[in-house]
Structures are given as C-alpha cells and as structure tokens.
Amino acid sequence: MEGNQPRFPHKSSSFTASRDEKHHEIDRNLSLGSLKLEQYGKRETHGVDTIEEEETEEKPIAGNAEETQASFFIISEDIDLFLTVLLSLEEDGRYENREPPDIPEPTVERFVTLLEKEIGRYESGEAKWCSDNDEFPLLDAIGRVSKLTAAVTRFSSDTKYNQAMNRAGGVLHHAMCFLEDEFHSLLQDPRAKQDAGNSSLKAKRQPSFSLNHEPDRRVRPSSESTSAESRPPYPPETVERLHGIADAMISAGYDIECCQLFAIARHNAFEAGLPSLGFDKVSIEDVLKMAWESLESEIATWIKAFRHTITASFAAERDLCEAVFAGRPNVSDRLFRRFASDATVQLITFAEAVAMTKRAAEKLFKVLDIYEALSDVMPAVDALLPEGAEQDESSIIADPKEEIASVRCRLGEAAVGIFCDLESSIKADSSKTPVPGGAVHPLTRYVTNYLKYACEYKNTLEQVFKEHKHSEKTSSNAEDGEAAGGGGNDRNGSNGEGHNPFAAQLMEAMNLLHSNLESKSRLYKDQALCNIFLMNNGRYIAKKVKGSPEIHQLLGQTWYRKQSSELRQYHKNYQRETWSRVLACLRDDGLQAKGSVAKPVLKERFKSFNAMIEETHKAQSSWVVSDEQLQSELRVSVSAVVVPAYRSFLGRFSQYLDPGRQTEKYIKFGPDDLENLIDELFDGNPSSTGSKRRP
C-alpha cells in the first residue's frame, strides 16, 4: 500500500528544499500578505508557462509517484497565487467593474483532476486515506478547491470562470461526499461498540421491601459505582481526523451535512449503547402493566444507566463535540445540547412512567431512589449546560433541566401521595382478632419498619414534602398532624426551619398507629394481657425509634419521653392487675385474731395463693414478650415484689402449719420455686406448666 502511494510531504514548508527560487520568493510574499499586483502579473504568466512546459515535457503518470507529488505541490502553489489575486481584487472591491484576470485553466484543470484522482483512489480501495502523512495535504487540497470554487463563482458571468466554477464545484462536491463517507465511518469507530460491551452496568436485583420478613438493615444503593470517568468514545487520532474533516466540510459550507451526520451518528451510538447499560426501552403502557418485582429491578438498572449517562456520557460527549468542532464553539455547543436533550428525553420517559404507576406503599423507596437520582444529577447538568447560551432555530429542543425537573416534580407528588396513603392504611386496619399472647401486632411491625426505612430517606422526604405537598388535600387530619408535629419540632429550632411537613406527617402516622393499637388492646378481655399487648407494641416502637437516629430526631425527645412514660404506666397497670391480688394473699391483716393466727384463714390464704400462682403461671407463660430485655424486666420486677413478700410470709406463718402432711399440702412452693415459675412467664409456651414444675 505504501509503495504505490504518492508521498506528499508532511507540511508544505518541508518541501521548500525542492522548490526553485522563484516560488520560494512568492511563498514569502504570500505569507507576508503584501503582494504587489504589478509584480505578480508577470510572475503569474511566467508561472503558468512553467507548468505548461512541465506538462508537455513530462506527463505525470499515475505510477510516477514522485512526479505527481512534485507537480501537485507546484500546482497548489499556483492555485494559491491565483486565489490571492482574486481575493485582493475582491477586497479592493474592484471586481465589480473590472475584468477578472485570465484564468489559468490548465492549472485549475490539473489541480482538480489530481485531487479527483486521489479521492478516487481512496474510494476504490486502491489506497487508504489514513496514514498520517497524507492526511494534511488532502484536506489542504480540499480546502483549496473549496476556496477556488468560491473565488471563481464571483466571476461566473465570464464563460471561462463559469466553466471553472462548474468543474471545481463538481470536484468539491465529490470531495465532500468522500469526506462525508469518511466522517461517517470514523464515527462508527469500533471502540464505541467495544466499550459499551465491556462496561455492562446491568444492576443486580435489589431486595424488595417486604412485609413478611423484617429486613433489619436496608442496604441503600448510595455508593453506586458511577464510574464518572468514562473513556472517551474515540481514540485521539480519530478525534483529530474527525476534527480535520469537520473543519474542511464546514469551511466549504457543508455545515448542515456535517452537523447532521455527527448528531445522528452520536445519537444512534447512544441508543445502541443503552442495552449495554442494561436499559431496554419500554413503553409507558408496559411500565404500568409490569409486575412490581420486575419493575423494581428495572428501576435500579435505569437509575444506574441514567446516572452514568448524565455524569459520564454527557461529559465525554461535550469533550468530543468541543474537540471535533474546535474553534467553533457555537456549533459544538448546539450539537452537545441537542445530544443532551435527545438523550434526556429518551431516558426520562421511564421515570415519567414510574411516577404514573399505581400507588403502593412498597413503591415509595424506589420512587425516592429515582427522585434522588434526578436531584443528584442536577448540579452536573447545570454545569454541562450553562444558562444563557444562544438558542438558535432549534430552540424547541427540550431543555434537559426542565424535563428532569418536571418528572422530578411528579415523582415527588407520587412520593407524598404514597406516604400519605399510609395514614389511610393504618386507619383501615381494623382486624378484630387479637394477636395471641399479646404479642407485637403485625401492623406495628409493618408501620414501624416502614417508617424507619422511610426515614433513611429523611432529607429527601423532607425536601419532597416541602416542595410537593402543596395541593395535597390528603386528609382532615392535616391540621392535627401539624399540631402533633409541633411536639417533634423542638429539635427543629436549632435548624432554624420552623415547619417540617414531613415530621408532621410522620407524627400523624405514629399517632394513628397509637390509637389503632389502643383500640386493638380492647379486644383482650384480660386487662393484664391488654397492658402486655400495649407494652409489647410500645416497646417495639420505642426500640425501633431509638435505633434510628433519623426517626428519633424527627419525632423528637418529647415524643420519646411520652412513649417511655406510657410504657411505665402499662407496666404498672400490669403489675396491679395481676400481682396485687396475689400479694393480697400474703398480707398480715385478717390473719391474726386476738393475738393468735387463725389457722383456717391461713390455710385458705395458702390455698388461694397457690391457685393464683398456678393459674397465673399457666396463663402468663403462654403470653408473649419477645423482647428479651422487656421480658427480663417484667420477671425481675415481679420477682422483686412477690418473692420477698412470700419469703417473709413463709417466715412468719409456716410455723403455724403442722410439719409433714399439712405443710406439704399448703406450702406448694418454696421461694426459689416461685422465682423459677416467674422466670417461665411470657415465654409464649403454654405447655410448660406441667413439665417444668418442681423437681
């Protein structure tokens, strides 16, 4: 390939050695731009003569590379000279009323023929236009033919000029078609495809929020591996060539073709890259029909694709536009904006569709994920697309910022709606079956965990509620909620932002849960169990709140203190309900009549004490306190009251029973036995009574 290829010198300056003196001189004159026309007039004819001589003497044959090369450069010089003359005529404004100089037809013809032939060689595949050495002269020659065409067109009323215009213009167009093909195939550079294939960002499916099991820590995809560093789509050499071509095309007035080619190729590349980001286009209807489980993983994938596009692809694209259209900031800016706008519109539809899906509690977190992604990219978008850039005819192009903001707004409204729906769900839970053993109600678990996870999005939700709660006619409770929120607002004072609608909404949900639980507690006939139920649920809530700084902060210290005191009250109530009757058996009053112990009364006391203990043990060992700390607190507090009282009662009165049969009959439990029995309470294990009894 190299062998039969004309070896044009790298730069015209490197060619000076082989030039004759005369051209050298003109060269300088040209570069100085102070050409004296009179002087030139002679030279021109002389120059043309020389070339004509050359042509007659030694016809450059295709094989004779060096000859072709040499004459091509000489011709180029002559064309440049001719152009300078025409240009200066134009500058002087003299061409209006002056005959144009004679046109050096043979030079022009030879020049365009050589260029045409050269392009033909590339097009036919005979030679490849890629080696760095050749590049410059070709684009240079194309630039020259473009200038030539423009220059001779001014005098096209002259027949010879008209012919030259048609000839040069035809070759110019041919050259432009060639460049267009080159530009196009360079833009299809394989690296782009390769790249896309490797960096598959297909997200792993994220565990969904589920009601059945209690996900204790939700792993938030905060540290997404958004590889902000994206490889540039083309290697530097390609970008350099693209720049050269773009420059030549735009200089020749083929800017529409060039920009269209570029815009469409880049947009198609973006489209083609989407599947490798794991994102497949779906219609809105499909999204609305999709099962939540599938949609959930689609959302995770989408978020990655979206973040990647805005943070990495956009930046790379802007760099590319700036490099390819270097020196033409208007063009590169317009093309980049168009790309960004199209890409945003393509991607955002999915988020738009998600915002439209039917509301459901479990969707809140994914909706917020998208919301956060949209918020997070805004600074990047702002930086990439600064305001105030001139907007040309394509002003219609959607502003990515507006598109994102609009969808973000709808997602925000959806999030508010979903969160507020929680209220109605709590109110609507009116199941009439008490949870066995007074254990934690599923509603408590659900709501508390839900709120806890929601509060991991505290900042986002606060923002969402501030920005998007405007038209919510959510409920009659809005005002109550705000009032309740006031309780939690004390910690807000430090932040200096008075009203926090999200905190208010959260408080409202907590209050609703509280009153719902109270009404559920009334389903238990046993007051003690009723209190155990409230204690269990209250404890569960308090613990979750304590474990989550966000929710704790939102509800505030006041709420927490109130909750704690309520819990203490339940505990007291329970103690009173169950154990005050038991302790009554161990009281002295009524036992001693006239200084002596009434044995039948004593026996009766023991009998009822034993019965109550057995009965309580039987009932309450089946009650459930799954919180170990609470369980042990309860047992300890019971033991602390009952065991010493029993011990002292035994100490004082056991002597009055006859040792042996009678003692055995009435004193069924030793103090240690009693302690053991108390330790078996709240096990949720009804069968334990018989088996574990006394060794």
Binding site: I119, G120, E123, G125, T149, T153, S156, S157, N162, M165, N166, G169, G170, V171, L172, H173, H174, M176, C177, F178, E180, D181, H184, L211, I256, E257, Q260, L261, I264, H267, N268, E271, A272, K281, V282, S283, I284, E285, L288, D342, V345, Q346, M356, K358, R359, A360, A361, E393, I396, S406, G417, C420, D421, S424, S425, A428, D429, L443, Y446, V447
Partner: protein, 391 residues
Amino acid sequence: MPTADFQGSSAPFASTGRSFLSLRRDHAADPMDAHHRHHIDAGEQRELDAFQHQVADLFHDLAGGGDEILSISWVRRLLDTFLVCQEEFRVILFGHRRPPALMDRLVSDFFERAVKALDVCNAVRDGVDQLRQWRKHLEIVIVALGPHNRELGEGQLRRAKKALGDLVILMLDEKDSGSVLSQRNRSFGRHSGSSSSSSGGRRSHFRSLSWSVSRSWSASRQLQAIGNNIAAPRGHEVVETAGLAVPVFTMNLVLLFVMWALVAAIPCQDRGLQIHFSVPRSYLWAASITSLHERIVEESKKKDRKNSIGLLKEIHQIEKCVHHLIDLIDTVQVPMAEEKEVEVRQGVQELAQVCEAMKEGLDPLERLVREVFLRIVRSRTEGLDCLNGVE
C-alpha cells in the same frame, strides 16, 4: 394482616369500594343525595348538553375551518380541540355530584385508554423530530440552489441532488426502505463515476434509530387497543350514571379520533389506520367527526398517498417538490439554459415555502403534543388521588 390493606390502596379503580368522585360528593354533603341518586339535576343536564354542543362546534370548525385538513396548522387545531374537550370533560367529571359505582368502571376505562394515548404522543413526538431532520435536507437544497446563489453551478446542483436523494430515502418508511432503496440509489448515486460502490451504505448516514417506544411497539395496535370496546351508552346506563356516561363516551371517541388522526398525519412506528370507528348519528358531533374520519381515510387511499410515511399535507408537498426538483435536475446540463434555471429556481422557491411552513409549525406542534401528554397525565393523577385520598 396489613398486607391486604396495602394492596387495597393499589387496586384498580373498579375493585375499590369507594367510587370515583366520592370526594366531591362528600364535600357537597347533600343529605338528599341518596334520594336523588338517579335524578339528573337540571343544572347538571344543562352542563352536559353544553359539553355536547361544544364538542360538536369544535369538530364542526375542524371539518370546515380555514386550515386545510391534515396540514400542520390543522393538526395543531386538532390538538387544541382535544385540550379544550379534555378540560371541559375534567370539569364535568370533578364538578358533578357522584352517580353510582357504574361511573367508576367507565371512568377508569377512559383513563386506561388515555394511558395508551401517552405512548402515541411519544411516538408522534419522535415523528415530529423526524420531520425536523427532513427539514435539514431541505435547507441544504435551499442553501445550494437558493436565491442568494446567483449562479447555479455543477457542484451546487449535485449537492442539492444528493440532499434530495437522501431525503427521499429517509422519507420511505423504514420497513419498506430496503427494497426500494436499491433502485433509488441507482438514480441518486451521488457520483456517476468512481464512488458508486460506497453508495449502498448511504441510507444509514442520516437514518436516526431513535424511537421513544420499544422496538416492538406498534402505533397500529395501540390505536386498536384504544378503540377496543368503545360503545355508546345504553339508555339505562345513561340514567344510572346521571347522564355522565354520555360525556365519557364522547371523550373516548374524541381521544380515539385525535390519536388516530395524529398517527395518520405524522410518521410513527408501525403506522396503520384500520380502526373500528362508528358513532351513532344522534350525537351532535357525530356528523363532523365521521366526515373528518372519512376524508382522512379517503386521503390515505389516494394512489399517491397510499405508501406515504404520513398524510401530513406538508409531507405530500415535500414529496411533490422533491420529485419535481429531482426530475428537473436530472435533465439539467451546465451551463443552464435560462428557462431551465427559472424552473429550478421556482422549484426551490416552492420547497422553501414548505420548509418555512415546517419551521413555523413543527415547534408549536411538538409543544402541543407534549401538552396533550401532560394534560392526560395530570387528569389521570387527579383521578387516582381521588380514589386513594379517601379510604
């Protein structure tokens, strides 16, 4: 279990206990409401009648008005008409005292159709963008052969011819572009000599792969889905819904017709105009809308329009101008004879007019399509809010 309750809030309209519009009625809090359930209030009846009149007037204007049917300005008026109807419909829906549960089904049914229309809007938006790309090629022709070029040289003619050829290929529907392409390419081969080998790849240069909808999406199927099971309400349904079944039916048909006409006019993925479209004559707007439907169907059957990528008037004009110019340029020899040049100039002038019309009209058209999209989304959300807000 709370599970069930949560699902309840996401259940479809029809299965929820609460009826659509319940909120409104609660606010109205009319104790007599239960007794008057089936009674159509005189004021409300006037409102319903006014809606029928308004729809009839709007479509009458569309059918007769100054804009040529299927022109960009006509399509814009079509969308404006839809927006007005949709707004009035919304007012009736949300402002009306609530009739029994039958309405829920009807209204949710309407919103389901409306959701399908959203994808049509997106596809049409792509189509408008496509038209904008075509305009770029027209601009090339105008730059090459426009009035500011005093002299039409060989290069400019070839440039224009190539732009025209590219445009013709772009204007072929993607699915049948393959077959026609080979023939076309021969006549538009940009250069008679050396480079014919590479012209086979030409078509991809300016072909945008971009569609907002998935590849398998079909405008034709979507239209059929929108039109499925639209039936004029029967007498008892009208009574049971306090007359509201009538505006819902009206809006169903308006939606169907507007989406159908959009797809007819504008390039879309897998266009197809076969829908079942029949309106009982008794509706005030039936005549206008049926006549519009017939005229568009007729247009689509015309020989020179049958294979068109869109029935938009401007597309037809472009096609005519482009083919005329191509034929002209094919016969031209440089230097051009004066009368030839006059002819070419005139052809370019015509092209410039279409180009201008597109430049003026496409942006507002796209904004309107977007507006229709957003309006549908908003009214649908309103409906859902109504349902979920009270439970």
